[in-house]
Symmetry: C2
Subunit: 437 residues, 2 copies
């Protein structure tokens, strides 16, 4: 039995089916895909959720290839924009146009973060030297002494990757996350980085074809409320109660985001896991897709990439469809502004006009997705760990409880928080089950 039909749950279901197990997937929503969710906007299908693939994400690349879904390069030709609230400046390269002294400080800060990252294991961060001290500090502390504009750029990067302010992250957990994804610059960049390519037709094209080909029933509209192991640690079956009824299974994989998993009652109780789950909070991102008649920014030698230390939008990327038929931009409202989001896009259009001129004033369409309003995800892109959680619980999010196993990108030891991590976690949970069957 698998709970959750996102990438993690489907990866687990496929691996279990391949091992000869009989599998059912229970999904709370009326759709599959979890944080992979695509919808038509103008002349193309765009992603409300995860949409990028980068080097090293081999499981995701292989899956897309198997499903016959092509990828194409994220548009990155032209100059970028830094808006520091006072001025709008163009720049080239990966590092925003700061003053020379500020650039040195930013480079030093990035080097320091890289050095710290190299000392923390993605798989077992609590084993790092000084783990307790690192876990008692927030990422904001590391950045506190940096000049205001340098800190602003780092805040934007952290917000885009995690959907939170640096103040909300355990430094230890942050370093483990960077380690799992190849470092801060790798996670922040397009070319050679985690935003390098996109999927033709959107990420959900992969999921739809996958579900069609999987020889596994997926029951939607079935939120799971209670998982009981009447035999305790000594074996026996697992009873899963969803809004569609009670079913028994030999083993269960729970593949939902941590706060959704926290709402599922486990019997017998798993107090250490209950405590650890409470330390995890989903980030806040409102994803904004803006479609235009023409990609006018390209005509001006701009790539469409913007870093803004003033909201509501903090980052922006070109999001034109693969065939070029539907020019578009995609941006994130993140952390605080995402939590205070009221649905009004006026300020967003004003930002686009500030960056690109009057042509930005009249989008063909503008679609916003507030992931914090999705009850079966509760935020995006990922669940982040508060200080003090990792080193006091003596357990991890992926530690099984008897015959209940845990998947989901937050449980991944590679590419935690990414589509790739979801696949890795599902495969790992399936291996646990196969060993136990």
């Amino acid at each position: 039995m698998v709970v959750g039909a996102g990438l993690a749950g489907l990866a687990a279901a496929e691996a279990l089916r391949a091992a000869g197990a009989s599998v059912v997937v229970l999904e709370a929503r009326d759709r599959v895909g979890g944080r992979a969710w695509s919808e038509q906007l103008g002349k193309a299908r765009f992603d409300r959720g995860g949409q990028w693939i980068g080097p090293g994400q081999d499981r995701l690349a292989a899956l897309a290839a198997r499903m016959g879904v092509d990828t194409f390069a994220t548009w990155a030709t032209g100059e970028k924009i830094l808006d520091d609230g006072d001025r709008v400046r163009r720049y080239a390269g990966d590092i925003p146009s700061l003053g020379p002294l500020e650039l040195v400080q930013l480079h030093l800060a990035l080097q320091r973060i890289d050095r710290m990252t190299a000392r923390v294991s993605a798989r077992d961060p609590a084993s790092a030297r000084h783990a307790v001290d690192l876990d008692a500090r927030t990422v904001a502390e590391v950045a506190r002494r940096l000049p205001r504009r340098v800190r602003g750029v780092l805040d934007v990067a952290v917000g885009a990757i995690f959907g939170v302010d640096p103040a909300e992250l355990s430094l230890l957990w942050f370093l483990a996350y960077l380690r799992a994804g190849g470092g801060l610059m790798n996670l922040s960049t397009i070319q050679g980085g985690a935003q390098e390519r996109r999927f033709v037709g959107g990420t959900q094209s992969i999921v739809e074809r996958w579900v069609e080909r999987l020889d596994v029933p997926v029951v939607t509209g079935a939120p799971v409320r209670h998982i009981e192991q009447p035999g305790g640690a000594s074996g026996g079956e697992v009873i899963v109660t969803s809004d569609r009824g009670r079913v028994a299974a030999r083993q269960v994989v729970v593949a939902v985001p941590p706060p959704v998993a926290a709402a599922i009652e486990l019997t017998p109780a798993a107090p250490a896991r209950t405590q650890l789950l409470q330390k995890v909070a989903m980030g806040a991102i409102v994803k904004v897709c803006v479609a235009y008649e023409r990609a006018f920014w390209r005509e001006r030698g701009l790539s469409g990439e913007v870093v803004s230390t003033r909201g509501p939008l903090s980052v922006l990327f070109d999001n034109t469809s693969a065939d070029g038929a539907q020019p578009a931009l995609v941006g994130f409202v993140q952390a605080g502004p995402a939590r205070r989001w009221n649905g009004d896009t006026t300020a967003i259009v004003a930002q686009l006009v500030r960056w690109f001129g009057d042509e930005a004033r009249e989008p063909v369409a503008i679609v916003t997705t507030d992931w914090s309003a999705e009850p079966w995800t509760r935020g995006c892109p990922v669940g982040v760990m508060a200080p003090g959680g990792l080193t006091t619980s003596g357990t991890t999010l992926r530690q099984p409880i008897g015959r209940v196993h845990f998947a989901g990108t937050e449980t991944a030891a590679e590419w935690t928080g990414y589509l790739e991590g979801a696949l890795e976690s599902g495969e790992r949970a399936a291996r646990e089950v196969v060993r136990a069957l």
Copy 2:
């Protein structure tokens, strides 16, 4: 309609009934009282949950008096013990027996915390000067430069009050909490402090009599899953779905701990609240009650109070019944050791022997309560706020969502986290409802 039959929910129900409203209380458990829970042990009834009342907790005192439940002084006669892991030392007064330089450092640290506390409002901490900076820091940072044993004593105090390590607390939220309860020393001490008196027959005696006298039906075994406001902000009824069915109400008060509230789906969604709730985690405390034939510690001039910087028990108090018939001690396993708790009391008895000698080796009974294993509380004594939550959400835990109001001690602006705060929050939520009806 009230969700939750703890002190907050019952206070709301009583105030609403008094205002002439028709009220029903839905309770997930098969008992009432929430974190107030008493059980027979040996010759007396002891509290598995909240058990103390101190000066300034006027609502709780008045309620107990109305219900005819007497209070008696917590035993505090005799010397106390500090166990710093190396040595066991006796001391008198409120401050453990440290070296003279350490004592100075502890006093300075307490004074510094007091000064910081005075600058933060309990009702609106985000309005404090430097609120964002304070919210980006953990309490561990404040204590980092203190000598090891001084830090150890502060860790024990924080663990006993919150059930977490200082690393897990937003400094801003911590200061607001201290402010709401009269300061750190007030919360840590027996005489003149929050642990000054106890209830004859246990706290639940109050609750049981209260429920009998309330003219309000309490439906147990009815966990609420979904609260819908089909009319949105524009009015209409509220539909509450529990495991006992669907009912309509004009207004609803949700009076359950934050992680339990987070598991209730709200329609329409309340994304800012969803995000803020994810920043709150219940502390971890295993409450240990040990009954003996004789109060042998008293005979040796000891009060029974212990502070231990080595676990599993971190604090201990005399817990003998009001009539003296059942001698007992009560202690807390807290934070990390509570999360790693495996139910084995051997190490606890060894601590008691270390402190009090061989007579401690044979208790009449020993009862442990791991609140993290309670699915309808998920930890104890209180939900704590992680860094970065208070200042980025633009909302508070007590901000109503349409016709849904929120109570529970975590929403209190006075005595947050205490039984008194639960009563305050219930009364405040009832006032909101009465204004809206």
